[in-house]
């Protein structure tokens, strides 16, 4: 393989957030800004820049120090220091880079294992690379393969199933209690960021009506307008709570806001229709004793965290299965790369054969003299020498193609072939074949 894939990056594991922020590469064009050039040896490039990772994937000449070139380019783009950057980056080459990229696409390398956002971000990064004219044969193939590997991982393993965020866990539980959420009413008590996030998830899960009760009514109204809910006065909290099937509480109160007796009277008015309370406040807003009432389900932040942690551990088990798929797909990609390395060898070999054939044809035609003036004769001779050259190479090429499908053998045989036929026009080293040299006469 005389084309080398190189992946240089930093992520949430190797760099703190301030470093990730400083070395982010949004809207950087590797072609316009000089990463792709003859000097750097880089022929194809793609930049993935998200809040948790920045990665540069390049395809370039093997003999160049691509890593140094990328580091320099990267530090220049961000006005940073190469050494500092180097301390936080990791490098993967060739098949390691392929494996890493497949893992990233499948969300096996994400902070939240199995989160789906990374695939969309990777697709966007690839679209940018195509738009910038920075992708080529290898990168195109590699990225398309990444997307299909991610899809395979998602369908064949449960690495992306089970909620791994507090809000998602709450929504899942709500579905377990009520089934379809389309006819349910939810109520936010307090309009904090966490509550808003949970509300957003509930709305996307189908909840049609959202009530917002906040001590500062104006803030409640503001949030209500943002999520198309209905702001209610905090003074009317318990009166209106009877309408809610799902209650998300996140006030900053130091004492519990919702007591058992409040819920009991609400349940009478609701004729025991079930209620799901999600208490995401610290300290807690809802008296834990509420959970002992019939048809009431109360989950606080710790309960939800426990659900999330259990789901995460389940995802880790699934990740092992996913890695097997990634390895399988890396093997397939390696096969393709090997075939790709074979193509230029075949072309060089045939071109060399044709060159020799034409050279010999020229000599023969010269020797034939006037007889060679007949175009039929020269044409017949040309056809003869060219087809002879092709036929002579047929068996070795067939052998090469078959070897190219084998692990390591492909690269090894291509290397041997290139040296055997001197396809790279290399001069023999001075110490080559000492056994064939004639011994120098002694000076005695």
């Amino acid at each position: 393989m005389n084309q080398s894939i190189c992946l240089l990056g930093l992520n949430h594991r190797t760099a703190p957030v301030e470093v990730r922020e400083r070395y982010a590469l949004p809207n950087v064009d590797p072609k316009d800004q000089g990463l792709i050039s003859v000097e750097s040896g880089v022929k194809e490039a793609m930049i993935l820049s998200t809040c948790n990772r920045v990665e540069l994937v390049t395809v370039g000449r093997e003999d160049k120090d691509t890593v140094r070139e990328i580091l320099r380019f990267w530090a220049n783009c961000c006005g940073g220091d190469v050494h500092e950057l180097q301390d936080h980056t990791y490098t993967h080459r060739n098949l390691d880079a392929v494996t890493h990229l497949f893992s990233v696409a499948s969300s096996l390398d994400s902070m939240v294992l199995g989160e789906p956002q990374i695939l969309g971000q990777l697709k966007q990064a690839y679209r940018n690379s195509v738009k910038q004219g920075a992708s080529g044969v290898i990168l195109n193939r590699l990225l398309h393969k990444s997307f299909s590997v991610a899809k395979r991982v998602r369908t064949e393993t449960k690495v992306a199933s089970n909620a791994v965020s507090i809000s998602f866990a709450a929504v899942e539980l709500a579905k377990r209690i009520f089934g379809d959420l389309a006819n349910q009413t939810a109520m936010l008590v307090g309009a904090g960021e966490m509550a808003e996030l949970a509300a957003t998830h509930l709305l996307s899960a189908g909840v049609k009506r959202m009530l917002i009760a906040n001590r500062t009514h104006a803030r409640g109204c503001e949030l209500a307008s943002r999520i198309q809910g209905e702001a209610v006065l905090f003074a009317e909290l318990f009166e209106r709570m009877a309408e809610a099937d799902i209650v998300i509480s996140s006030t900053g109160a130091t004492q519990t806001v919702i007591q058992r007796r409040d819920v009991q009277s609400i349940m009478k008015r609701r004729r025991n229709r079930p209620m799901f309370f999600i208490d995401i406040a610290v300290p807690r807003d809802i008296d834990p004793d509420v959970n002992n009432l019939d048809n009431i389900y109360l989950y606080d932040i710790d309960d939800l965290k426990e659900v999330v942690e259990e789901n995460l551990s389940q995802r880790k088990t699934e990740a092992a299965k996913a890695m097997v798929i990634v390895q399988e797909e890396t093997e397939k990609f390696a096969c393709w790369l090997r075939s790709l390395g074979l193509k230029p060898t075949i072309l060089d070999l045939l071109a060399g054969g044709e060159r020799i054939a034409r050279k010999e044809l020229k000599k023969t035609l010269r020797r034939l003299g006037p007889k060679a003036d007949d175009p039929d004769v020269s044409q017949a001779l040309e056809t003869l020498v060219l087809s002879l050259a092709h036929k002579l190479y047929h068996q070795p090429l067939d052998f090469l193609k078959r070897r190219a499908q084998e692990e390591d053998a492909g690269t090894r045989y291509i290397d041997v072939t290139r040296r055997m036929f001197n396809l790279d026009n290399e001069l023999p080293t001075p110490d080559a074949h000492p056994d064939r040299r004639k011994p120098k006469p002694s000076e005695d």
């Binding site: 539980l173 579905k175 377990r176 209690i177 009520f178 089934g179 379809d180 004729r271 025991n272 229709r273 079930p274 959970n291 019939d294 048809n295 389900y297 989950y299 309960d303 426990e306 659900v307 259990e310």
Partner: protein
């Protein structure tokens, strides 16, 4: 082997196949297996309907007094109730209860020695329609409510206790759907049971010239009716939901089973199945 025996064997085999396929579908989460189970059930139910029809054609109103036919009809009702509930509430898991139960009840029908309850000809139609039909329907609805209640209690325990919901529990429908089965069983089942009971007393009045004779079956039926009435009242008037009606439905169904199998087989009663 005559046509009746062949039909009975085919129905038993198909109900058995349906039950096995439904259980397997739950265990290995195979939608195709469930479809296969549903197909076997429907085919079995079709043949069962033919079997019931042929029996009726052969014996006319006399059939209604035959013990084996009584059980065959019970199994048939159980399947139809389960199919209707499945169609209305999309609760495939009900088949896990109705099919094995129908299989057991139907095997009684095929193995019991034939015994007859002598009935006055003039009341055959009325007795069958009002007494047997309504009671069978309400008991079958109770069976569904009891199985839904058992699963409700199991799932609710997990949600309330905040324990991990894994494996088969993950495939279960929501709590509200289980409660809906209970609501169906109570709202439909109680009026039917009441009609069944009243028609029974009426029939007793015409036959023995007394409404109530302290027959064990009658006493058990009254107890079941009182509990059923309490459940109906609590659901309708006091808005009972969830745990309490689920538990009570299980108790009422258990009592109905004891009444039907224990009393009918082992005690001296008008409803005796002893040959």
């Amino acid at each position: 082997m005559n046509l009746t025996e062949t039909l009975e064997l085919a129905v038993l085999a198909l109900y058995f196949l349906g039950a096995v396929l439904h259980i397997l579908a739950v265990l290995i989460r195979g939608p195709l297996l469930r479809s296969g189970g549903q197909f076997a059930t429907l085919l079995g139910f079709g043949l069962h309907t033919v079997d019931v029809g042929l029996y009726m054609a052969r014996y006319g109103s006399e059939a209604l007094g035959h013990g084996p036919f009584y059980f065959s009809l019970m199994a048939w009702t159980l399947i139809i109730v389960s199919l209707v509930l499945n169609w209305r509430l999309r609760m495939h898991f009900l088949a896990l209860t109705s099919l094995p139960l129908a299989l057991i009840v139907y095997s009684f029908a095929t193995t019991l020695p034939s015994m007859e309850v002598i009935l006055p000809e003039s009341f055959m139609g009325l007795w069958f329609g009002l007494h047997i039909g309504t009671l069978f329907l309400s008991i079958c609805l109770l069976a569904m409510a009891a199985s839904a209640g058992a699963v409700y209690l199991f799932l609710e325990n997990k949600i309330k206790g905040k324990t991990k919901i894994t494996g088969l529990s993950k495939d279960l429908p929501s709590l509200s759907l289980f409660d809906q089965v209970n609501a169906w069983a109570v709202n439909l089942g109680f009026p039917l049971f009441t009609v069944g009971l009243l028609s029974g007393f009426l029939w007793a009045h015409f036959t023995w010239e007394r409404f109530f004779s302290w027959d064990p079956k009658e006493v058990a039926a009254i107890i079941v009716w009182l509990l059923f009435a309490f459940l109906f009242h609590q659901r309708l008037v006091n808005g009972w939901r969830g745990r309490k009606p689920a538990k009570l439905a299980i108790w009422i169904f258990a009592l109905s089973l004891i009444s039907m199998l224990g009393i009918n087989f082992f005690l001296e009663t008008h409803h005796s199945f002893q040959p």
